[in-house]
């Protein structure tokens, strides 16, 4: 089947830092998880590809808790982004009607992923502090352009993890969330007058690639 293509979108916020973790420990944990898992998956994938065995990718990945904490960090980022954006009051009418549920969904995702991690005996990552650059929510176009970047990032991040999840129930939950992120991505693109259907197949990004974008928002 046609392989989902990997791609790199322009960085939201021009690559300026928007995530600030509560403390160094949290920040290092996020970076380490993403780097270790990202690098590991690349190597495993490369090795598996050389053997012509796609299933090997699943057998040797970092555990699902790392993937869930990675997802949780991105969901925290999205939830906070929409909360602040909607608080700014730049949207009205149909735009507002369509974006309010997106915020609610992202908050529900944060809760669901947190609960899942806890249920599995894991430790959910702390919610980072976010600082969005001045002007991010100044007008509808700024808000939605950044929203679009986040949504497409979220979609590709989830799809990148699909083959790496070890547990079928976690996969089902992650897929159920990913589908909603696709709806968000399409609607936000439409509100911007952009193409809601950039490809017949959702694209993927590895954790490493997503981190490349996210880490530039983390204050060092």
């Amino acid at each position: 089947m046609t392989q989902p293509q990997q791609f790199v979108r322009p960085q939201p916020f021009g690559g300026r830092p928007v995530i600030q973790f509560r403390d160094d420990h949290s920040r290092r944990r996020f970076l380490q998880t993403a780097l270790v898992v990202g690098a590991g998956s690349s190597l495993v994938a490369a090795a598996a590809a050389m053997r012509g065995d796609p299933r090997a990718v699943a057998d040797a990945t970092a555990n699902d808790l790392d993937i869930l904490n990675y997802a949780l960090t991105l969901e925290h980022l999205e939830a906070e982004f929409y909360t602040q954006g909607l608080d700014s009051g730049v949207l009205g009418g149909r735009d507002l009607e369509l974006v309010e549920p997106i915020r609610d969904h992202e908050q529900a995702h944060v809760e669901a992923v947190t609960q899942t991690i806890t249920d599995l005996g894991g430790e959910p990552v702390d919610k980072p502090s976010f600082m969005f650059p001045d002007g991010t929510f100044d007008d509808k176009d700024m808000f939605l352009t950044n929203a679009s970047a986040f949504e497409e990032l979220g979609v590709t991040a989830y799809h990148g993890q699909v083959p790496r999840i070890d547990d079928a129930d976690i996969l089902a939950a992650a897929a159920a969330i990913a589908g909603v992120e696709s709806r968000h991505a399409a609607i936000v693109a439409d509100l911007l007058g952009e193409n809601p259907f950039p490809s017949p197949f959702e694209k993927t990004m590895t954790m490493e690639q997503v981190l490349e974008q996210a880490s530039t928002f983390i204050e060092q």
Partner: protein, 203 residues
């Protein structure tokens, strides 16, 4: 290949009701993973739905009901569905399987107006989303197929949202179906699709 040939190529036609009961027999008492007899079966199930969607949009767009942005979107959705059909056919062939032929379809009065075209599209797209999610566990061990199916699933979700927005449906419960997508099992999906299947060909 001409799209019409792809969808309606010559074959023995059997009545739709009979075909569906034949199709249903082996999973009537099954759920989840047991709905399917291996990956080719899952892919053929998806292919059947994609045939339906591709032909639906081909006929609907041919009817010339939409204009402007709606027409552009519906045209893109049609080519997306056609790409899904071809991808699934290719994949089934690569796995050494036999792709099911396209069913004969009848969309009734769906193209009587733009409103009914969009409402039927809305039904199809959300059904597709639910079907892929419901079938995902059956592909769990085949990571490459799982990823590919997921990549189609996400695009169906995009279609569903945009169709609903063209209809100016309510955001929650229309454009979005909650914070998480809901799966549907095979028999539920086929029951929902059955009104549009006049006949399925056998081989």
């Amino acid at each position: 290949m001409n799209r019409r040939d792809l969808i309606r190529g010559a074959a023995v036609a059997i009545p739709g009701s009979v075909a569906l009961s034949m199709l249903s027999a082996k999973w009537a008492f099954a759920e989840g993973v047991d709905d399917f007899d291996g990956p080719v079966d899952v892919l053929n199930y998806a292919l059947t739905l994609e045939y339906l969607e591709a032909e639906f949009y081909r006929q609907g767009n041919e009817a010339g009901l939409a204009e402007g942005r709606a027409a552009d979107y519906l045209s893109t959705i049609q080519t997306d569905e056609e790409a899904h059909v071809m991808a699934l056919q290719d994949t089934i062939a690569q796995l050494g399987g036999t792709a099911v032929p396209a069913p004969q379809v009848d969309f009734g009065q769906a193209f009587g107006s733009l409103e009914s075209y969009l409402e039927t599209a809305y039904t199809f797209e959300n059904l597709g989303v639910q079907a892929y999610l419901g079938a995902a566990p059956a592909l769990f061990q085949q990571k490459e197929l799982l990823s590919a199916a997921a990549s189609i699933f996400g695009v169906e979700a995009r279609h569903a949202a945009i169709i609903a927005n063209l209809q100016e449906k309510a955001a929650e419960g229309g454009v979005y179906q909650g914070a998480v997508e809901t799966p549907a099992d095979r028999s539920t999906v086929l029951q929902a699709a059955s009104p549009f299947i006049v006949a399925a060909r056998t081989y």
